[in-house]
Point group: C2
Chain length 225, copies 2
């Protein structure tokens, strides 16, 4: 469903070049649950942003559902993202003036879902991530882990076929983290393709494959027996 | 060095009261390394903010180095914070238009440290947290874990006698996380009192005591043998 061929992402800092991605070859199968691990700064978020069409390679090719992303214009990319992708950001990127429910509804508004259905689905998702009693709070009125869970619920709003999660349990205690992991594995068993950047061995432990990154490249891939 | 007596922090959300802290009694000894654990939303960050004088109780008393914080005005609080406290925020709170080195220097500027000494110390701290080659990047040009490490370096800039850390390894891989944990335990062995909110059992494992919170109260305290 996703294929990277010799993908590079280079940043120019004056005279210095930063190779955030330094030649990545990777294929993700439909229905797979892939974990991405690696040192802080090794390129995991950059890779995930690439796969979520939030960034473009400076070299190499990225194909999503067999379409070369470089050949899509911004509108086509945007529509592809809205319909098929769910993205959980490492920094959450919640909208500060919207409530928990309104934040969860944002992708549904973009997809043209009606207000009643949208509100019901947002309430169900808020309950699902344990925020039923925080529905009307705004992000600054939430704990770090609660904000993380709003970001998770929002990513699931349009029932995406591909979910990209950047350290979705990083600010959760082990018991809340396990609840989120159970939710993710359920979705994967129901057919959602899942790519999860994680530092948590338990989260990687549920994956079919774990991709280890080092200095902007894939260093090794471990397959679960 | 820090004492809370029946501390409460209540938020009013229209008719609903949220008891973020619901009667906390706690004493932290000079030189101690205390870990705080508990479910997402249980009040850990609220407690840490209270101890760092970033927030005031709605009931109860908080004494820092034997002074009742309620009796200090904002200037006195601000000066106390600048001189004796280091704070690592759960969301980092870096200044977007400043570089890594400039962000680390901010507390030193406040303490009146000269520019040359300030720059040397910032460079040493950046090296110490593995960001020597990212010194001139701005926060948006850093990975999540790199931003976290800038926040850590900044908190250590004035060699504080009391360090308050809110999930300092939450976005770090286990090997970078271990480097940070080693740095923190070294500082504690050298005399820095340390209160660390964490979900990481390894970080709590190094603490003299682990304080478990539940629903805004201290649920139990485990003492390391
Ligand atoms: N400004 C606010 N208004 C209303 N409620 C708030 C506000 N800030 C925090 N809360 C609530 O207070 C409770 C405690 O928040 P706190 O940030 O201390 O939790 P935490 O233990 O640090 O959680 P996490 O592990 O997720 O970071 C949470 O349930 C949160 O929703
Ligand atoms: N805008 C930018 N300009 C320059 N360098 C950048 C920029 N954004 C990221 N980088 C660098 O690219 C590298 C990869 O960043 P990335 O965010 O992908 O790392 P990561 O593996 O997700 O790390 P973490 O585990 O800390 O989140 C880092 O070394 C970072 O400093
Ligand atoms: Mg990252
Ligand atoms: Mg917190």
């Amino acid at each position: 469903v996703a294929e990277l061929v010799r993908v590079e992402r280079v940043y120019e800092m004056g005279e210095v070049l930063v190779h955030a991605l330094d030649g990545v070859d990777l294929q993700i199968e439909r229905g797979e649950y892939a974990a991405i691990m690696g040192r802080s700064g090794s390129g995991k978020s950059t890779l995930l942003n690439m796969m979520g069409c939030l960034d473009r390679p400076t070299a190499g090719t990225y194909r999503l559902t067999n379409r070369d992303v470089a050949e899509l214009d911004d509108d086509e990319l945007s529509s592809l993202r809205g319909r098929t992708l769910g993205f959980i950001f490492q920094a959450y990127n919640l909208i500060p003036h919207l409530t928990v429910l309104e934040n969860i509804e944002v992708p549904m508004d973009y997809a043209g879902v009606g207000p009643r259905e949208s509100r019901e689905r947002a309430e169900a998702l808020a309950e699902r991530v344990g925020l039923g009693d925080r529905a009307d709070h705004r992000p600054t009125q939430l704990s770090g882990g609660q904000q993380q869970r709003v970001a998770i619920a929002r990513a699931l709003a349009n029932d995406p076929s591909l979910l990209l999660a950047d350290e979705p349990t990083g600010n959760l205690d082990s018991s809340t983290g396990q609840e989120i992991l159970d939710l993710l594995t359920h979705l994967n068993e129901a057919g959602t393709t899942m790519i999860v950047v994680t530092h948590d061995a338990k989260v990687a432990g549920q994956a079919h494959r774990t991709i280890h990154m080092l200095d902007g490249r894939v260093d090794r891939i471990l397959v679960r027996p």
